[in-house]
Symmetry: C2
Subunit: 351 residues, 2 copies
Amino acid sequence: MPDIARRFDTNPILRPADVKPSRDGLIVECLLNPGAFRYNGRTGLLLRVAERPHQTETTVSTPIIDPLEPSGVAILEFKKDDPGLVYTDPRAFSHNGRPYLTTLSHLRLAWSDDGVHFQADEKPTLMGLGDLEGFGMEDARVTELEGQYHITYTQCSASGIGVGYITTRDWKSFERHGMIFPPTNKDSAIFPAKVGDEYVALHRPAAIYLGGPYIWVSFSKDLRYWGRHACIAHTRLGMWDEQRIGAGAAPIWTPKGWLGIYHGANDKSRYCLGALLLDLADPTKVIARSHDPIMEPIAEYEKTGFFGNVVFTNGHVVDGDTITMYYGASDEIVCGARLSIEEILASLDIR
Amino acid sequence: MPDIARRFDTNPILRPADVKPSRDGLIVECLLNPGAFRYNGRTGLLLRVAERPHQTETTVSTPIIDPLEPSGVAILEFKKDDPGLVYTDPRAFSHNGRPYLTTLSHLRLAWSDDGVHFQADEKPTLMGLGDLEGFGMEDARVTELEGQYHITYTQCSASGIGVGYITTRDWKSFERHGMIFPPTNKDSAIFPAKVGDEYVALHRPAAIYLGGPYIWVSFSKDLRYWGRHACIAHTRLGMWDEQRIGAGAAPIWTPKGWLGIYHGANDKSRYCLGALLLDLADPTKVIARSHDPIMEPIAEYEKTGFFGNVVFTNGHVVDGDTITMYYGASDEIVCGARLSIEEILASLDIR
């Protein structure tokens, strides 16, 4: 099964240099993993903008949200030769046993008339707020449903990583509804329609002791309180999605089932994309799942960067058979690709 | 601050030998961590009964729920010299990377007229059912609220460890409502009254990457769908509760606040009990927290056993100032102790 994604010729569509830092003293280090939607005839992306101060030879510094600072952001600085400092990977480190992220992410809008050329806003759209977002906001997914846009995103703080929920009608005023899936959880997408009398969402608890980073589905009467959690997909030993999996953007209604694109990483943290097909009436039932990836990090800009060998998506818009998918490459830049729903369904080898 | 628990002279009140195995071929290995309640003038305990087959010199065997077996339970057996076998601790092992529990737990009622002498039922009350309970049901907490008993308990399976929710009015028929907190989560207790127009519960996500095994509070309109998750207590470095913490039974209403008993373990997995006092109108606000434990594993039967140096509670009944607390000692036997609400509040040193 080959890679069936038709990448934009103009990739990347947005790079860190295309976005202004949120304030003096910070550098936009990575631009990644946008949510996508249509509004007033334009395509909008809700980008994750990851910033940090300039790193010196002798120190490691990272920003955190701090309401006591006049700017709202404090800079933590550690000496590189501090024996309490332990690097986990380019994305995280710990000091005296306390974990930190290397960058602070906020969410920022970018707009396009053609879905290919985007202009990012000058300022952040949503910044971390309160106890549960001290280490920022990441990886938004946007679902249009009942006249509103429903944003699910990752809340990061010293208390953990969970799923936050925000709504907007006009992309100017936003209503925050707090955390809807407690730690450790991310990769949550709300379905674009009710199933029966309930709203539905996918999410990805990172289970320990038993289980693992598997995909779950949950139900709600009002989008703010969730229950009836059910596990629908495990990682698969020895395959491309053996280490971790997580949902992409909102599943797409097709006559054959809810079609979801998901990411999977192997034991070398190489991130590919595959598809899941869920029963229309009961999305806890998996009808089919990709044996091989439908997209792999094969372009040069997908193989090297801040965290190489990554294609990761949480945003798309759909026109008939065409999915225009926006994705993060190597955790550094934003790219686009088109996929055919028919081709994905054919690849799933369902009767 | 001394240990202020007045242990029953008759401890332990229930031992594995006091309970019949659920079927031939299984041995009751541990009896632990009961939920407690009053019904028709009697005290009821909902025990966790942990069983496994007789272990031989050369094999390790553990039961799992299997609906395809006529008995409902299959026995998995592994050779002890199998290089794929890795022991984690007395409670868990893995084979070829897949984790298993060493015992299969079910929930079983025991009844008492005096709150001290208990007789366990002959048969299990609740056995694991469905995909999310293949490795059993553990550590029930029981809350009486609006004419029903609300049981929160740990669901264990290959998909993870989460919180299940069951209701009953008569302890004969039970209604299952599925998983209310997704993995990894346990130690959940529902408050015995609404706060404002919402139900409230404590729970303990086991966060990784950021955060840790901290205590959270959540809210619900109907007890089945939960949201507005908030973290209220972290572990404390260098203290008795530095490694992990988790709520005990339902918090108790007092004029000074919601009084919750919680367990904390240090870096040697020594489990003690402490108290948390939460604001009556806003239980996301912590008014006070025990500096030192209010109960420690100091009796001989608390120091040695299946998993020694453990006092762990998730059940109590309250009469005026007296908390009659039931607890698991050394993950093997069930004991009782009495505590004074006034004494606990005094120990919290609030103004």
